[in-house]
Amino acid sequence: MKYFPTPVHLGLAVAFGALALLPFWIDNPYVLSVLTLAALYAIFASSWDILSGYIGQLNFGHAVFFGVGAYATGFLGPHLHPLLVLPAGALVGIGFAFLVGVPCLKLRGPYLSLTTLVFPLILERLAFTFRDVTGGEYGITVASPLSRIGLYYASLALLLVTIGTLLAVAESRIGRTFRAIGDDDQAAMAAGIDTTRYKLGAFVLGAAFAGLGGVLYAYHLRHVGPETFSLFTSFSIVIMGIVGGMGTVVGPAIGAYFLTLLGESLREIETFRILIYSAVLILCVMLFPKGLWGLAAALRELVSKPAESRSPR
């Protein structure tokens, strides 16, 4: 089979090229740190998208998966080589994917959303309560093995791997099956698809990348605390995914960059950040349910429409 790059792949290549060259152009530690954070959120948002966007089961508790990755870094960081901490984060994420995924398998729609919502809250309470292990509200200090610039490139590389893998999965037979389950899971089941296995698979796939991202997240913040499991952490991933455009892998990553940069550019009015996030979410759901990605697609259609109407049908 011959490979033809699609416009999405070309766009991604350009975007990643630009992001990789950016530090040579802007030599500002603050900007670098914001861009690292944006890349990490993009990893969380696009790994969230497999279950939420493709299978259509809105996960309101994605923070569990990168949160446990971050806590694993806090616990293991001082004892293991960083290259071993990364797979450990992924494994812990996968472990929790089973823990959350199995009770959720029978559930659909809002029941799944609310059930996934409470898992991080339980972990948050546990982190507060068992303070001699978790450090309570102060959390654990993490030493980063990488320099700021090293961490930026590590995050960018992980984002590239995440998007690349997830896009490959999404464009494969498995991705089409995910979509079929999302469109009508009864019909998919009737067609002989083991929906339970695919749903659990989507949990595991998303959680593995979130767990990996969680390790870098802890290195970036140099700290991990119970606020990682807070309601708003989980909701901000949902907001990024929806604003970017669900079911596209790339859309949620764009949403993550958009909202992180928007939030930072409004730094002076930091107090309004959450207010703006929620207002953007409400506007988006009311007016552009397909998010920025859908908006871009609609614009492209609008531009190409005259050409198309001329072509014979």
Binding site: G56, L58, P103, P110, Y111, L114, F119, F272, L281, V285
Partner: protein, 285 residues
């Protein structure tokens, strides 16, 4: 210790009953899972704080004004945000989550994250079994039970109550019978908001009021509805007391910080082991 658990379990059981009834009403009648439900409790609590602390209003009129004003907020939210998205359960879920976060942030900006105390009109207390119970808590229990009886009578005896039940059972058939379904949905939203507001305004004087207080009542109400099953008044009441006593047992015997974690564990266990709840029809199809 045992007396504490029994008495505070009863107080919270009464409050949780009101909260769960309001949540199950809008969900059962209109199939709307309103994540902004807890935010209505929040709005009512801050309103009563502003009225009593800021304007020096007496407790009883302040309570009625706070509940009525919150009902108007609920009605406006329904018309502007929920009604246009009604066809999609997922979009309603997202937009109400957005509203809940938005209102929470408004509370942060208006009142800061600092917890506020609502002065109680009924100071003083008495002791049952060596447990100090304030008059405010006694009033809460009495009002909570009164509300449950009023709601029951309303659903059984009045025309609107019967319409609500008819729509809950089969909205299409109800519509064919000439019941104005859209108006019934709006009424369900207003009554549901009113119950959340009533609960918020009742507990505000013996809790602190803070911007993040709306999430716990929402998740507690959802847990109770999951446990009690949909469309069963007695199931809801029994489930509310089970959750309340389980919370108090945890709070007094293990750690008050794990109180909510137990509720969430009950939710997950019920959905995993017995998704149809203990009584009535399950909420999971």
């Amino acid at each position: 210790m045992a007396a504490d658990i029994i008495i505070f379990g009863t107080i919270w059981g009464a409050i949780y009953t009101i909260l769960a009834l309001g949540f199950t009403l809008i969900f059962g009648v209109a199939r709307i899972l309103n994540l902004a439900y807890g935010a209505m409790y929040l709005v009512a609590s801050y309103l009563i704080y502003s009225l009593v602390s800021g304007l020096d209003m007496a407790a009883v009129p302040a309570w009625f004004i706070a509940v009525a004003a919150t009902c108007l907020v609920g009605m406006a939210l329904y018309r502007v945000f929920i009604f246009p998205l009604r066809a999609s359960l997922a979009r309603v879920l997202i937009v109400t989550a957005g509203i809940a976060i938005f209102l929470q942030e408004v509370a942060v900006l208006a009142y800061s994250t600092e917890p506020r105390y609502v002065p109680t009109a009924l100071s003083g207390s008495f002791a049952i079994l060596h447990v100090r119970v304030t008059y405010q808590q006694l009033v809460t229990i009495v009002v909570a039970f009164a509300l449950v009886f009023v709601l029951h009578a309303f659903l059984v005896r009045t025309r609107l109550g019967r319409e609500l039940r008819a729509v809950a059972q089969d909205s299409e058939m109800a519509s064919l019978m000439g019941i104005p379904v859209e108006r019934v949905y709006l009424s369900a939203m207003v009554i549901s908001t009113g119950l959340a507001a009533a609960a918020g305004a009742l507990v505000a004087p013996f809790l602190t009021v803070s911007p993040d207080m709306g999430w716990s009542p929402l998740l507690v109400a959802f847990t109770i509805v999951v446990l009690g099953g949909l469309g069963s008044l007695w199931g809801t009441i029994v489930a509310a007391f089970i959750v309340a006593y389980a919370e108090m047992l945890t709070a007094f015997l293990i750690s008050p910080q794990l109180r909510e974690a137990v509720t969430f564990a009950i939710m997950i266990a019920t959905l995993t082991v017995r998704p149809h709840g203990l009584f009535g029809k399950g909420i999971v199809e």
